[in-house]
Subunit: 198 residues, 2 copies
Amino acid sequence: MSPVKHSIREKGDIRARILATAWQMVKEEGWPSLSIRRIAEAVDYSVPVIYDHFENKEAIVLEFARQGFQLLSKNIQKAMEKATEPAEQIRAIADAYWKFASKHKEYYQLMFSMGMPGCELEKCFPERADFRVMVMKPITALIEKGEHPNDNPFLKYFTFWSTLHGLISIRSLNGVVSEEVNKMVMDDAVNGFIKNLG
Amino acid sequence: MSPVKHSIREKGDIRARILATAWQMVKEEGWPSLSIRRIAEAVDYSVPVIYDHFENKEAIVLEFARQGFQLLSKNIQKAMEKATEPAEQIRAIADAYWKFASKHKEYYQLMFSMGMPGCELEKCFPERADFRVMVMKPITALIEKGEHPNDNPFLKYFTFWSTLHGLISIRSLNGVVSEEVNKMVMDDAVNGFIKNLG
DNA sequence: TACTTTTGCCTAACAGCGTTAGGTAAAGTA
DNA sequence: TACTTTACCTAACGCTGTTAGGCAAAAGTA
């Protein structure tokens, strides 16, 4: 094959085009069908060019994970600002988390259910620490005002997050159950959590 | 290469040997490194022989999923029989579920976090319905005796399961946190759940 | 016994994957 | 002009799941 004339190509950052193309593929066909070769074809370059911009496939995926954590943090922050009462803030956080998982399934899947190897800790994604700090704030406030001021906020944060994550991932295992029921279950669980804090 | 003399081979069911070998590989090296070719090599047959016994790779994996659901159901049942009080039964179930996930990580991963395509529903794994029925029994009992007899038992079952699953999967995302802390979080969440029922 | 069919098992391939070695040709620089 | 850097390519390696087609021995049948 003759070398492709690249005058047609947008000179814009190839790296950005790789990411954009990859993301489109993921949204249209899911993570499993994302492949370096198909990205290369889509951006109209040969395969090794991809490796000029990313060390390997994992690096591309990691980039998206970072984006996901940033977006989640931003959404949580926005949600928190809408409320002042700690209990209301917790409800707002749960709601925002739920919406994020629904609206950005690809991100959520990648961030929490794809088992990114070697990236379990907050060191790999600093944004995860941001999330933790934000969520722990109203929890701590509620504990201090409540009847069990000696409760461990970190433990409670952990419980809270687990509950949310559990509901979201079980939801995808139970295709039948309607979205409404799922939301009811979550509200129920969150209310229970808040009640236990106060 | 000359055809292998099969007198050495155990004449025992090849199908069983395939499964045993595959399971050993999974336990030693994890799901990702399970491959038809490596199974074939290990059982000392050529690749197509595997396809004489299983339609494809997914069929092998599905077999393990079935085994997992059966084992979980058995464990839950045993745990329930140890207690008579509904609240105690719920605690026992949570404990058994937790232990199952810890002891049989490969099963748990496969059953709930690997996204078996096309097998979300109970139709695919009848054992999942057994699990639901068993867990709902003490939950229903507790609701009837409690202050909110109109609560929906299915909803509560859903909440309960989600909480457990959340804790378990978040645990694997937070490599740092010790097993003890994890267990504390779970006991805390389960106690909160029970309190909300009564 | 002689012939046919079935069984058991194989090699070799197809199409896809992530990744890399090595080469060409144009562009920039001394 | 000569040299280096840049941009990009082809072709391969080794891995994956899956399948087509063939050979040889065993089993069934006339």
